[in-house]
Symmetry: C2
Subunit: 417 residues, 2 copies
Amino acid sequence: MAKAEIITIGNELISGKTVDINSSYCAQRLTAVGIDVLRITSVGDDFETVSDVLKKAIKETNFVIITGGLGSTKDDITNEIVSKALNIPLVLNKEALQLIEEKTQKAGIKMNPSLEKMAWIPEKAKILDTEGNACGYKLEHKDVILYFLPGVPEQMRYLLDRFVIPDIVSKTEDLPSVEQRIIKLYGINESLIAEKLKGIKAENVLLGFYPKFPEYHILLTAKGKDKEKIKEEIKEVEEKIKERLSSYIFTTKDERLEDVVGRLLRKKGLTISVAESCTGGLIGHRITNVPGSSDYFMGGAVVYSNEAKMRLLGVKKETLEKYGAVSSQTAKEMAEGIRRCIPADIGLAVTGIAGPSGGTKEKPVGTVFIGLSTEKETITKRYLFFGEREQIKLNTSTMALDWIRRYIKGDPFIPGI
Amino acid sequence: MAKAEIITIGNELISGKTVDINSSYCAQRLTAVGIDVLRITSVGDDFETVSDVLKKAIKETNFVIITGGLGSTKDDITNEIVSKALNIPLVLNKEALQLIEEKTQKAGIKMNPSLEKMAWIPEKAKILDTEGNACGYKLEHKDVILYFLPGVPEQMRYLLDRFVIPDIVSKTEDLPSVEQRIIKLYGINESLIAEKLKGIKAENVLLGFYPKFPEYHILLTAKGKDKEKIKEEIKEVEEKIKERLSSYIFTTKDERLEDVVGRLLRKKGLTISVAESCTGGLIGHRITNVPGSSDYFMGGAVVYSNEAKMRLLGVKKETLEKYGAVSSQTAKEMAEGIRRCIPADIGLAVTGIAGPSGGTKEKPVGTVFIGLSTEKETITKRYLFFGEREQIKLNTSTMALDWIRRYIKGDPFIPGI
C-alpha cells in the first residue's frame, strides 16, 4: 500500500501562533484516493530538525508533501535545507524565474534579489504549475517523490488538487477504492453509543468515533479492490448503525444540523421565528448560515432583559415575578409570543442561565427551558447543560435546532429533567 | 534549553477528518513559559507508528505531551500502545476507577466494561486531576516526563493549564523569561501595515504577522535571562507600533473585540440594543459571549423579513419600496426603531446581502449598511465585504462591533464606500 507523509514547516506552527490547517486538507485528499498517511509532522525553520524529518520520511514512505518556507522572506529556508539534507545543489531554474518575473510585472512590483531567491530550487526539480499561479515543485529522489508546496492555504490547495493528487494517482498502481460515510448524532453520550453498537460486526469497515461537542460523529471507512463490494459492506454497517441509533442520528451527510433543519422546513413548507434569551442570537445566526434561509426564517427576538420579554413578546409581568425569567411558563409565553410578534408556523423559544453567574440551588448554571409553539400546541421542557458559558449557549442552540428536526419528523424530543 | 514534543494520536487526524487544534494550543502554552517545541507529530491509532514516534520523542526531548486515545471506545488504544512500546504493564488504577465511577454516577450512567477500561493505565502513572474533571495522567520514564491527555479539546486544555504546564515549569531550571504582546487590528490591510511599520527596529524582539480574518494580529516575542530588560525592549517596540497604527488597534490584550466593547459600554454606563438583518443574530451572539453582558445588552431584533422590519422596528413600507431593504435609509430606520422597540442608549443596525444569491449590479453580494443611533444623532455608512456568506456575516458583525468601540472612544469610523 502506498504511503505518504505530510511535513509542514514554519516557526509559527511550533510556537502555536498558527493552527495547521494545511495538513488535514492534504490528509483528506490523500485518504480519499486510497493513499495512507503515515504521519503528519510540523517543525520549525531549523536545518537539523527539518533535515532529520525529511530523511525519515524518504526512508519510510512513497510520497512526501512538504508545505511552507518557499517564500521570499528571510525565514523561508526550505530550499536550502533540502539542498543540504539531500545533497542536491540549488540551481537557478529558468522556468521558475520567468514565471516569477511575469507575475511581479503583472502586479507592478520590481524584481529584486529576494524574489529571485525563490527561483533557486534543487537541481532536476520540476515546477508544478507552468502557468505560474502558485510556486511549488516536485522532486524525485531515490524511489520517493517529494512535493514542495507554499504554506499559504489557498495556493497549497490549488497546487495539491490540480497537480499533486493527479500525479500521485497516476504514479500508483493498484490504488484501492475508498468509501466513507459520516453519521452525525446529537443527544446521546459516548458510552451509550458504545453499548448500543455492541455486537455489530464491521470486519472490513473501519469505525471511528469522534465527539464533536455537543455532537457525536461516527466515521465509516472501507477500502478495497472491489468498489461494488466495499460499497455494499459499508452500506450494511451503516444500515445496522442507523437501526440502533435511529432518531439520535440527524444526518449521514457532510452537512450541519442547521442544513438538515432548513431542508425539512423547506420540504414541509413551514416557516419559523425564534425568541432567544440565553443564546443571545446564536440560534438565528446558525439558521441564517444556510444560504436561502430567508425562505423559511422569518426572524427573531433576542430578549435579554425582562423588559424586552414583556414588550416584544407579551410575556406577562406576573409570570416573570411568580416563576422567574428562566421557567417553563416564561418559555411557553415566549414561544407563543414570538409567533404573534413575527408570524410563523413554528415559534421556538429558549431561556436559561448561561453563567458563570446567575445560578441558584434550584436553577443552577446550565438550566435551560425550551419551548415550541404551533397553531395546535405549545410544548416546553427543562434541560441541564454543563460547561462554560459558550458551551452552554452552543448546546442550547443545538438542542433547540434538534427540536425542530424532531418535531417535523414526528420523533420524540430528548427527555428533559 | 528544555525541549518538548507534542504527539497527537487518532485516525481522524491522519485521515483529515479532524483539524488538530490541540497541538497549537499546547505549543502556545509551552512557548509562553520558555520551553522550545521541537516537533509536533500526528499519527494514527497504530501500534508501530505510535511506538516509533514515542521512542524518538523520549530520546530527543525532556517533555512529551500526548493527546488522544484515552476514551472508552474500541479505537482508544493509547494505553495499550504505551504499555507495549515502553514495556510497562497496565494496571487497574484504583484512584482512576473511583473517579470514573463517581463521574458516571453523577451523570446517571451505569458503569460498564468500556468505562472501566479507561482506568487501566501504565504502572506508576499518576492521575493529573484528582478531582476527576478530566482523565489524564503523567508518567516518568528515564529522564523524560510524558503527559497523557484526552483528545477532547476542553478536557485537554483544562488539564494542560492546571496541571501540566505548572508541573513542567516546576521541573525546569533556568527557564528563560518570555515576554509576549499581541496587537490586534481591524480595518487595515497587510500591505498598509507593512508600509506604516517601515523602519521600526526590533533587534531582540521577534515580530510575527498573522491575518486572522477579518482581523490582523501582530505578535511580539522577546526571550532572555533578564526579565526587566526584555520587558523594556518589548515595550519600546509596542509603543512605536501603537503610535503608528493608532485607532486600528482594538486591543493589546488576549481578548476579543466583544470584550473590549463590553468594557467600554460598562465604563461609560451605556446600554445597547441591536437590529440585525444579514447577520441573523451573530452580533447579539458575540455581545452575549461576554459574561455579565446582560448589564449593558438590552436585546435585539433579527428582522430577516421585510414584515419583521416593519412590525418590530417600524421601518416604513415606503422606505423599503423606494430604497430597498438593503439601503442607508432602512439602516437608519432600523437603528432608530430598535431604540424605540428595546430602549437603550445606543441602537445598532445592520442590513446587507450575505449571498450567495440576492446581489445586483448596483448592490452586489457583500454590500452592507451599518447604522448607529443615539439620542443625539443617527449615522449610517455603506461597506462592501468579500468572501463567502459566513465571512461576510463575520466581517459585518466585526465592523458593527468596531463602530461601537470607535463611537465610544471618539475615533472616526472606518470610511465607507
